[in-house]
């Protein structure tokens, strides 16, 4: 069964003034264990699609179903709770709480989930180890490089044990070494722990690493390919 399913998803920004059709009747689904990249030129609707899937924004028409639950039509409060329990997020920039250490940033999401304190710490530590930051756990975001910050963000996204992780251009602000390093980590988690990743990008080298590539043009799915 698909983890994510959209049905004729449309989004029109500013319908009353200068309407922008950001998404046009997008119907697509994502399966468990996927490592998928959503690609396309700037303005093609990648962010909008990911926001809809992540329950961060509401479609003009159509629906989004996650694990059999329709999230379209949920209240703001229900959505916040749903995101906390089911979806992991990695944003392009400004992911972390600046006053928290790496460890606290990862623990924090589990605190919101009201987990046991001891479990919280152990899990946060092991996740930071997995992203190769065992020696930077007590550093604050400002003391970390952009690549390191994104790795903490991946650890945080994973901490809540979500059904899948959404990452909107996670490498856009990184140099290519850091970008490849981040991809290595994501790929490893996908391979070894079957973590589902859906990420957008317009970087060809990142696209090359994805197993499935969804091409978007002008708010529509242009092509949907499985690579290699």
């Amino acid at each position: 069964m698909a983890i994510v399913k959209t049905e004729k998803l449309s989004k029109i920004y500013n319908p009353d003034t200068v309407p922008v059709h950001a998404l046009r009747d997008v119907t697509i689904s994502f399966e468990e264990g996927e490592f998928t990249s959503v690609v396309g030129p700037s303005g093609s609707g990648k962010t909008t699609l990911l926001n809809m899937i992540g329950g961060l924004d509401k479609p003009t028409s159509g629906s989004v179903e996650i694990d059999g639950t329709t999230i379209t039509g949920m209240s703001d409060r229900e959505l916040i709770d749903f995101r906390l329990k089911h979806i992991g997020f990695v944003f392009q920039h400004y992911n972390l709480i600046p006053v928290f250490t790496a460890l606290e940033n990862v623990s924090f999401i589990m605190l919101l989930q009201k987990r046991e304190k001891s479990e919280m710490e152990n899990r946060a530590k092991s996740l930071l180890e997995q992203v190769g930051l065992s020696d930077r756990m007590d550093a604050r975001p400002k003391q970390l490089s952009g690549g390191q910050q994104q790795r903490v963000a991946v650890a945080r996204a994973l901490a809540s044990e979500p059904r899948f992780i959404l990452a909107d251009e996670p490498t856009a602000n990184l140099d290519s070494t850091s970008a490849m390093n981040l991809l290595d980590i994501m790929e490893k988690m996908n391979r070894e722990q079957n973590v589902t990743f859906i990420f957008s990008t317009h970087d060809q080298r990142v696209i090359d690493r994805a197993r499935r590539v969804v091409y978007m043009v002008d708010g529509k799915i242009d092509r949907d390919e499985v690579q290699k």
Binding site: I80, D81, F89, V99, F108, L112
Partner: protein
Amino acid sequence: MLFLKLAWRNLWRNRKRTLITVSAITFAVVAAVFMQSINRGSHEVMIDNMVRFHTGYVQLQDYRYDAEPSLDNSFFFDDEIRDRVKKTYPETELVLPRIETFMLAGNEHTTRGALVLGILPEQEDAFSGLKNHLADGRFFDPAEQAAVVTKGLAERLQLSIGDQLLLIGQGRFGMSANGLFEITGILDHPLRDMNNQTVYIPLETAQFLLSADDHITALLVHPGGERHVRAAANAFNEEFSGDDLKAYTWPEMMPELLQLLEFDLVGAYFMSGILYIVIGFGFFGTILTMTLERTKEFGVLVSVGMSRVRLGMVLFLETLFISITGVISGVVAAWLILYWFYLNPIELSGEIAETVIEMGWEPVLPMSFAADQFYMQGLIVFVIAMFVFLFPLIKIMRLNILEAARS
């Protein structure tokens, strides 16, 4: 715990701004208390003088006297009543019998209306330090045919020590009352009204003059301090109701003055209001930048699943820290500053000083040191701060996470 940590760390994130906000609140409390203190200071002096030199804390009167202040409504007073007063309210420190009436006071040529008070000078002095205000001469002995005239009246009648004062009027039940009194002293009365019209004569002499043997119009009781006033009056009312006597507290005896002072405070309240508004806007500026700066962070937190209520709580904690710290340090600072002024009062100079000295006051800026102004002003500033801090809460509740992320 992590929430508390988050709030706490956020305070230290911009140390300078937190410090500025805290000191702004501190300053606000100090300014508010200071203003109150000065506004209330002169009133306290007035009320205190009024109580000390005119009404006393509690008075016992015939219950008819208030409506019709005539000698016909005087009452019998002897040692037995004095003892009953002390027994009824054991904390009682002083009991001052007085007989009071209006008469004409004159020299050979002219007369003027005068308030004649028959008193026991030693007791009056013990209560109010009346003798300290003698400009010249001395107070009389208990049954002497002598008078102490207030300065204003003496000047108007062109009388001085050793001269004879003529008193003409009516005694009890319409008996005529005339007498000549040797002036033994001139008193500079602290209350301007009284200074222009008062004549003190010995109680016994007055009772004889007014055909009112053993009668008085008022019994002033000093119940041992302000906080005893209500309780003492209640006790006396119970004890003496069978004797047709009624006890009045000082606020009951000078309602007009209190009303006037209250009215005088309207301007002060208005000024305080302006101060509060300035304080409020000051906070608002800081809080506004603080909130806008963190919009992105709020957006991320809500995006990954932090409920708005939780986020609001963290912010509330932050603001609570700031407000409480500011208010407490403000109250402490205000207390220290007022204490310093208490030890080193601001000296008045020039014309104001002369007027004040003339009225028998010390030429210093009167300030109130009442405790309630500290916590009242502290509380008001705290409420203002918390009210202003509603702004970020509203902001969080309405936050559009996508816009926040893009900002």
